[in-house]
Amino acid sequence: MSSALIADITAPSVNYYMLAPILIVLGGAVLSVLVEAFYPRESRRSAQIALVLTTLVVAFLAVLNIKVDAILGFTIVNSLAIDGVSVFLQGLIILSALVGALLISENRIDPLGDAFAAQSSALPGSEDELAFTERGWYQTEIWSLFLFSVGGMLIFPIANDLLTLFVALEVMSLPLYLLVGMARRRRLLSQEAALKYFVLGAFSSAFMLYGSALVYGFANSVELGDIAKALSASAANSNLMLVGGIFILIGLLFKVGAAPFHQWTPDVYQGAPTAITAFMSAGTKVAAFGALLRVFYVALSGLAWDLSAVLWAIAIITMLVGTIIGVAQSDIKRMLAYSSIAHAGFLLLGVIAQSKAALDGSLFYLAGYAFTSLGAFAVVSLVRDASGEANHLGQWAGLGKRSPVIASVFTLFLLALAGIPLTSGFVGKFAVFAAAYEKGLAPLVVVAVIASAIAGFFYVRVIVLMFFTDASGDEVSVVVPSFATAAAITITAVVTIVLGVIPQPVFDLLSNALFLK
């Protein structure tokens, strides 16, 4: 028996050309660990920032270098699928990470330093913490963690088997759990957010893993293509497969922040340093929806009928929870978190619809949402009072009179989130809703339109607060940021408008974006 097993093993073929973006990012992460170990403290921060930005730019060039038509295919024993969707999502994730890195590198808006604790091992409020802060130390490990997380995000949406999916999920999430807990201000809040994110994240990934085990028992393989074959080959759907499929969906729906698995979203978005919130609201959403779309379109399409009731219910609950509870929020970061839950609900329509048009719409939606969300959180990080960020909505009153430019840019992002024409949000929503309607999902589209209207109320409320309400007297100021944050806000605002006015180039780009089955 053993000789037979050994004879079976052949070296896997690895297509380095297709893997280049992932290898570059993970290689950069390893280099970043070395910089952490060997560089003197004074110059470490600038070295890390230079390394991270270079890595991301080179990785983006590597993505552009992949010619989608020429080399579609699987690599490393079918564990990764490089197809049109992968290339688009990888490019999008790297661009979001670049903007995120610009925000994380910001150290001008807080007089004490960047957004992260000087030494996150020092107790909050202790003399050590004070001493480290006075010495002007920076926690530069964040850059290694950041790059590892980006590496996980790049693998997550292109994983073609359930094991790779699970490992990528953890590589993406574990660094994020830590980054969430490292804020410089309001550290108790930040640590608590990290704990909640970690416990719920580990819980949901355990569900996903157990679901993978059940699916493996049914299909005798964890490859997505084999699972689809096993599903179509079996006459009656087995309960093993159904339960396994639902468990896998629970894990993925948790990551996209769909109700009833959304509880972590507002807490983590509020507690995390705002730059990290911006990065994860874009990157995690894109990566997780990419993975959800792939698993659902490639592996579970045979279960679509069995799962439709569950998915309809989840989509409706998600849209309503996101908008209705969002209306009641008084914290700007929590409000944006509920907005992201609502957007997850809208995007679920694209998952359920299962058509090429729905896929295109979802990918466009993700592209628009990623930049809008990055920009919105970037603006949030600028509005401050003496103790840090002024996140209470009441403190935003009258902002339009004091800093009209920032208030106008924020209005643009809010309008895009609400889906007003001439912004990327409108085009994305329209594409997804139209595709869903064509596939006979009219009831869901009606709920989505109503939810959009309710959501519009809380976006407009903030706009009214900024422009037509007098300041409450709290000392709130808009800090002038360094070049990095200014560039990030400019880029995201321009992308939000350009995608809204001339969306066609992106749809042309998506025309050959299909899943490899």
Partner: protein
């Protein structure tokens, strides 16, 4: 050897773990419950590998162990830092973030 028994055992372990996460207060115990869920999945993988006559499931179990170890490092560091701040590892005590 009746393989169904092993699957049943893994389902029971998974359920105990899931209930443990939901009802226990101590972060360490919650964390142990999560590990139990992962190990239940491992048992299922290995059993199905035996039942289906492929070794994929056994290899996957190794990957899961590695991931679980990494998760322990991250999870314990978060729990320890919270414990040092608050002198408690109770999940319910950490309740600053509320609606």
């Amino acid at each position: 050897m009746e393989l169904n028994n092993f699957i049943l055992l893994s389902a029971i372990l998974f359920s105990i773990g899931a209930v443990g996460v939901l009802v226990r207060r101590n972060a360490i115990v919650v964390f142990m419950s999560v590990e139990m869920m992962l190990n239940a999945a491992n048992l299922a993988f290995v059993t199905f590998a035996k039942a289906n006559g492929s070794i994929d499931g056994q290899v996957i179990a190794f990957f899961v162990m590695v991931v679980a170890a990494a998760e322990v490092v991250v999870g314990l560091s978060i729990i320890v830092s919270i414990f040092r701040t608050r002198r408690t590892a109770s999940i319910d005590e950490a309740s600053l973030l509320k609606f």
